[in-house]
């Protein structure tokens, strides 16, 4: 149940110098967000190693993680996060199920190594044989070389080819054809025929082609796989940093931080100001305001008071609350959303990837071509042996090496380009589905907008007033207070945090000055009387009348520009929000979206997506809230900002970081270019086949020609894909 990645390990090497003797040590993995260079890495390791109880700390700069080994029971995860916080680094424990599995990467790399070794050595021998054919190589030496090649090739093919053989078997068992079927067939046939020819002492042996084919394909597969592992790791880091942990308050008064997933009904949870609530439950103690926008899409905070039902993922904006988690049975909001998502995802499971679609045409075509060659040679009276040789050489030449690389190479180039721009492609077929979309549906709060309050009507508050309000506000973590400080900084003011500030939970801040008391907080707190407008903060200076500071969730800085760009590119754009009509209409008008619907619950959002689908549209859903998660699953493709709710981020095909909505345009552009390029690559490899297949049918496909055809076509498609990394893209 320990949800933080903590594993007890025997105290091996550390035992010698440790005062702990043989006691066990444990290791914890933390995500460190802003560790960017070697200097940071050293500071992180040093800060952690100096903490009592820590045995060693090893940072991984590529993964932005640090693994800490400590004496068992002496260090808590919170301590480590605190230590890093003091050193200036934002850290968070990694969730257990987010521990990245790198074994698949390694497995591929090991096979690449073996195939590479075999390919190079066999090629060395083959080149000698080829040049020997022009010179005076003796027949016996040639046969010797073939036997050595066979000895290297047979185990290499048996080991390195396994991923392809396994995938081909799986496809055949479920009566499908994928690219791995012709690959496996060609490799197996080429190896078997070469062995047969070697035994007979014949000239034409294809070991080199078979092994270098595997080598190229494994490189492609490895890059594809490692890119996905990297994306999964980055996504896990984001979720870890979003901090889905909760402080549990035990009956004896002690507290402990647990992962949100470790919570059980009946537990009492302490929710600090500015923290997200970890579970569905009821408020037991505390009054204040709760931002439920992630659930309802409603930007305006709701009042929190004892007895009120609260939901996981909502933000406590007021005083600290104590919440009792309610039963996590089927009636909770999360369970309901989970059910909707499962239902919605089923519709998408049938998507067939581009490469597999190509394979379903290509494989039968080449297999019947091979058969026709065999029959043709028989009819022409050449006997079954040359006929079989010709047929197999057709299968070897048509082995879809370039075709199988065509898509992964482009995928890797596109994914790493987007990765560099802060967009994480999570779903393997996400880019392909994204390229097909023609309608974009946005959520409002947190997606089209920043999801954080900004001061509006700034002219109502003078610089002098603002700097004094900010001095008070700097003492609080309330989102509005932080917005006041941010506004002051943006105006170029330098607010100095006041020291003697008193915070009254659920009301506001106060400070005694020479001229009297000044206050910042709710209307009642500042003596204005109940105003019924939660999005307003009042500031009452010591010597004047209270001033209202109004807040609003503002659009992302480039939202209007992005929408205009998308519309120009021919996309239909819609806005579906759970917020009230007035706020949605205002946001839609400002962003330039003509079609909008307000007060949409999750089921209604899905219904709208289904209607669009029925009208033949392919929808890209961009959303962040818990209420968007089912819609994200139902849409043809989906994107989420990295500030989104956990469930949404997990569901979305792509996750983008940063404030700019331009990431959507970039992702669409890259996806479309990637699709064009994949098709170009198909064209290139079919072109190669058009040249070399006739040679094979006519029986002229010598091993030399096979080797040249395969390597050059593979290099051509890869080189074409690499262009995507620096290409200019547009939607």
């Amino acid at each position: 149940m320990a949800q933080v990645l903590t594993e007890a390990a025997p105290h091996e090497t550390a035992a010698a110098g440790s005062s702990q003797g043989n006691s066990a040590c444990e290791s914890t993995t933390l995500v460190v967000e802003n560790m960017h260079c070697g200097g940071c890495m050293r500071k992180v390791e040093k800060a952690l190693a100096e903490f009592p109880g820590v045995i060693s700390a090893r940072a991984n700069l590529s993964a932005r993680r640090v693994t800490v080994t400590s004496s068992k029971g002496r260090v808590t995860t919170d301590d480590l996060v605190d230590v890093l916080g003091k050193a200036g680094y934002k850290a968070a424990p990694l969730l257990e199920d987010a521990a990245s599995d790198k074994s698949a990467d390694k497995e591929f790399l090991r096979r690449v190594g073996v195939a590479g070794f075999a390919a190079m050595n066999i090629m060395l021998l083959s080149v000698a044989v080829w040049s020997g054919q022009a010179g005076d190589m003796e027949k016996s030496v040639q046969t010797l070389f073939h036997w050595i090649s066979a000895l290297i090739a047979l185990p290499a093919v048996a080991y390195a080819g396994q991923p392809f053989f396994r995938s081909a078997m799986q496809a055949l068992r479920s009566r499908r054809l994928n690219m791995d079927v012709p690959i496996s067939l060609a490799v197996t046939l080429a190896t078997a025929m070469s062995l047969f020819q070697t035994i007979r002492g014949s000239e034409h042996v294809y070991f080199d082609a078979a092994v270098s084919l595997l080598f190229f394909l494994l490189i492609g597969r490895f890059l594809d796989q490692s890119m996905r592992t990297r994306a999964a790791g980055a996504a896990a880091n984001l979720l870890g940093l979003r901090g889905s942990t909760a402080t549990v308050l035990f009956p004896d008064g002690s507290t402990e931080r647990l992962s949100a997933r470790a919570l059980t009904p009946g537990m009492r949870i302490l929710v600090a100001t500015g923290e997200r609530i970890g579970a569905d439950g009821k408020i037991v103690e505390g009054r204040g305001a709760i931002d439920e926008s992630l659930i309802t899409g409603e930007a305006e905070p709701v009042t929190a008071e004892p007895g009120r039902q609260v939901f996981a993922g909502t933000l406590n904006m007021g005083a600290p609350l104590v919440i009792e988690a309610t039963a996590t049975n089927e009636s909770t909001l999360l369970a309901e959303i989970g059910r909707l998502m499962t239902a919605a995802e089923q519709g998408r499971g049938r998507y067939v990837r581009l490469a597999d679609r190509a394979a379903s045409y290509y494989a039968p075509a080449v297999h019947s071509l091979g058969l026709m060659t065999f029959v043709g040679w028989l009819i022409m009276g050449h006997g079954w042996e040359p006929a079989l040789t010709a047929a197999i050489s057709v299968l070897i030449i048509t082995c879809p090496c370039a075709l199988a690389l065509a898509v992964p190479a482009v995928q890797v180039a596109a994914t790493s380009r987007l990765f560099g721009r802060g967009v994480i492609v999570k779903a393997a077929d996400g880019l392909e589905r994204l390229a097909e979309t023609d309608t974009i549906v946005f959520d409002k709060t947190g997606t089209l907008t920043l999801g954080e309050p900004r001061l509006i009507e700034p002219q109502s508050c003078s610089d002098d007033l603002l700097i004094r309000a900010a001095a008070l506000a700097a003492a609080s973590r309330h989102p509005y207070a932080r917005a006041v400080v941010r506004e002051a900084r943006e105006r170029g003011l330098k607010p100095v945090a006041a020291t003697d500030v008193r915070e009254v939970s659920g009301a506001g801040l106060a400070r005694q000055t020479e001229a009297g008391e000044e206050r910042l907080g709710s209307a009642v707190w500042c003596g204005v009387g109940e105003q019924g407008d939660a999005a307003t903060l009042w500031y009452k200076p010591a010597d004047g009348d209270p001033v209202a500071l109004r807040f609003e969730d503002q659009l992302r800085p480039d939202a209007a520009e992005v929408i205009a760009q998308l519309k120009r590119a021919g996309y239909a754009v819609e806005l579906l929000s759970g917020d009230r009509p007035g706020a949605v209409e205002a946001a839609a008008r400002e962003a330039g979206i003509d079609h909008w619907q307000a007060r949409q619950n999750p089921a209604e959002k899905i219904a709208r997506l289904e209607a669009l689908k029925a009208a033949g549209r392919k929808v890209l859903m961009v959303g962040d809230g818990l209420n968007d998660a089912p819609a994200l699953a139902a849409a043809h493709a989906s994107m989420s900002p990295s500030t989104a709710a956990d469930v949404s981020q997990t569901t979305a095909d792509l996750v983008f970081q940063g404030e700019r909505l331009g990431a959507v345009v970039e992702a669409l552009g890259v996806a479309k270019s990637a699709r064009r390029m994949a098709l170009q690559n198909f064209g290139l490899s079919l072109g190669y086949n058009a040249i070399f297949v006739p040679l094979a049918v006519a029986g002229y496909a010598t091993p030399l020609i096979a080797a040249i055809a395969m390597s050059s076509s593979s290099i051509a498609v890869t080189a074409n894909a690499v262009r995507l990394r620096s290409k200019r893209v547009k939607v």
């Binding site: 550390a14 110098g17 060693s56 991984n60």
Partner: protein
């Protein structure tokens, strides 16, 4: 042609040395953190090696 009798085995032997080195590097996580390794080479202080080794702390 007698040269082949030792040339080919030695070529294969050297090649397999390279393969063995690669497999060893893979097994001992040498490719785990390529960005970090580039920086570690430039640092003067000793850093903890890949496998956890005891480093005395102030408290001990």
């Amino acid at each position: 042609m007698t040269a082949l009798a030792w040339l080919i085995p030695s070529a294969l032997f050297l090649g397999s040395l390279g393969l063995a080195a690669f497999l060893w590097a893979l097994k001992t996580n040498q490719f785990e953190d390529l960005d970090g390794a580039a920086w570690r080479a430039l640092q003067d202080e000793e850093t903890a090696p890949l496998r956890e080794v005891h480093r005395p702390t102030a408290a001990e």
